[in-house]
Symmetry: C4
Subunit: 216 residues, 4 copies
């Protein structure tokens, strides 16, 4: 189904792709809470014991909040990308599916990292899941940029070049997180705080702001 040469047609509008994506992100983000609800607080006989038991859940809470925030970040990236992509071809849809596959894995990776944080595989679970989701997102963006005439008709050559560079930021950071997580655990995710400035740096000059789209 891949048609490289000329790429004559990209017939599908993105409305339902966006609806499906929003649904998967919303459910993955909400399923994270099951890691909390399924945690057994054990026997509690006093206020102090309950507070203590909740206090011992801090890794659960921390990783829950972390995964939730990262899912929100990745969802926001998706929204931003597709604001300038009115149409997609089947390659784009499959790359989107792969992206969602790793989003769906996030609740599993989160519980793995929480429960086995002292072992290497545990520390790597969340970083690796997010790396692959971001990698698929990056491929998707590259593909859209390289078929700009069909899939990003409103983006000029100069903007495309800058966007392309900027999109490297999240990818590089997610690689660094995978590298650092074995040593410092989930703290490595703090690197994502640098995503904004790093994106701006990579672009070295800002793409002109697009006009606000009309409300549908």
């Amino acid at each position: 189904m891949i048609r490289r040469a000329k790429h004559p047609l990209a017939t599908e509008s993105t409305r339902r792709l966006e609806a499906f994506t929003d649904g998967v992100f919303a459910i993955a983000a909400t399923l994270l809470v099951l890691d909390l609800t399924s945690y057994s607080l054990g026997k509690v006989d006093s206020d102090a014991q309950l507070w203590a038991a909740l206090g011992e859940m801090w890794p659960q809470f921390a990783n829950f909040a972390l995964s939730f925030v990262l899912l929100c970040l990745l969802w926001m990236t998706h929204v931003q990308q597709f604001e300038s992509i009115p149409r997609v071809d089947s390659v784009m849809i499959w790359l989107n599916n792969v992206r969602l596959l790793f989003i769906v894995l996030v609740p599993f990776a989160t519980s793995l990292t929480t429960e086995y944080s002292e072992w290497l595989a545990g520390r790597l679970a969340m970083p690796v899941a997010f790396f692959f989701a971001i990698f698929a997102s990056w491929l998707q963006y590259l593909w859209a940029l390289s078929h700009r005439d069909v899939m990003m008709p409103d983006v000029g050559e100069e903007d495309a070049r800058l966007y392309g560079r900027g999109s490297l930021s999240a990818l590089v950071i997610s690689v660094l997180v995978v590298v650092l997580a074995p040593f410092i655990g989930s703290l490595a995710f703090l690197l994502f705080l640098l995503d904004g400035p790093f994106t701006a740096l990579l672009r070295r000059g800002r793409a002109r702001p697009r006009p606000a789209p009309p409300r549908p």
Copy 2:
């Protein structure tokens, strides 16, 4: 990404933010039922025993219904807010994410309150989760009001002042619920019945009704 001065652009339409939000609310509300399905009714040998076992589940049912109704209330608030907000900036989106984080915690907080209602932390779980969700909602509203020219272009100065005051109602009530819950438990949530009159009182004079939006 925060641009305070001049706030020149808020490029994102709210369509997908609303879709993501509706999804998270719908899932959080539906996951509440898992607290009922995972409850073990124990061994049942007669009609009377089954009725009795179901009767003993009344705290489960009460807190299920309470959380469901409160989630609906908070969802309605979101709908109302965003009826006059056609565009958002990244601060708004992040405040929305924080708001949703506490919505996602509601099923966990509900099961905690149900299971540990005799202890302080148990009694506080639901009130605190709803307080933070409402607090984020209030911050979001303040932010939109203070960038009214971009994010609420159809709301006049006078209306904005009145809306701003009215939005305090839910926040004040949610604080009172946190204060009272240690003493009277989930009954404290009955205070939310005063939300309507209290909002009207704070506004001291009603914002003029907006004309009905056309159906999309």
Copy 3:
């Protein structure tokens, strides 16, 4: 917030109410599968044993399919109702929330009916949940009809009268199911097969077909 007299304004469009409703129905319908996945098939040592174990799950499968089909039916009713309702007031939204509350209870009621089908409360769980959902749906419809000028502007007097009568059909059938279920169990739900003809009978004459709405 209820404004009976004159009912001057119903400001909210139904777009997000429909999105929230579709989400809750979709999740409730999908959660039904958890009743199957959580069922333990026990130890299996041969093909014959696995077939037998699956055969013993027939009440699980039957009630899963039944609840799924009924949820679809109730969802279709919602879609049909809101095709002629472009705007809602807060009473309508709250009645919708109550309707959804019982939809959310369906997975719980289904597992109760499956597990405790030999006891009265078990046999009643599903019928009662569906009865309340249909009752709220009927109230919602009555409310919309009695504020037709605002909420159903395109429905004429004669059609409104016929619709009102026709909407009784599902309600009457759901009452009959509650009455019969203690004696014949889930077979009572077969009465819903009569919903189509019974609706037509109650209308005694058909509302003129509305023209197909344009695709959004």
Copy 4:
């Protein structure tokens, strides 16, 4: 409610049918992860043991990925079908409900196939669930094609004939998978890689590309 003769009206737009369908697909796809999270890795005392425990989960991972990809494929088919179907009648909606019923069963079928892959019923669970979903999809397509004037007004006679033939591809493949799965297990699903070429072959000549729909 079925009106064969003349088929005078198909009044419902497909907007909410699509929303409900997207929701069910998104949730079914996301619930697949519960099969991973509920898997117990057992006691782990070293890095090597955790890697080994994760390695033993390969059938879980493989079937998770397989079901996810197949769900994406079936969702894409739905999107493509409904791009040329602006309106539906009640037969179409019920066929859609049946289709979704088998989609909802996918997480159950997947866990059955994973856990009981050495027995016949286990090997058949996934293939059979997908076969029925595809069968309902095929019936739906046939129904739409045979009422083309109402439900597919923009599709010409020649295109309809070619589409009809092409739609046989997935059905034939899913039958072959059911036949082969008892012998070669989930490998049989690799046949779906032939769906693209086989569809083209069946059409013997390509339907003219439809122009890209405008973005909503």
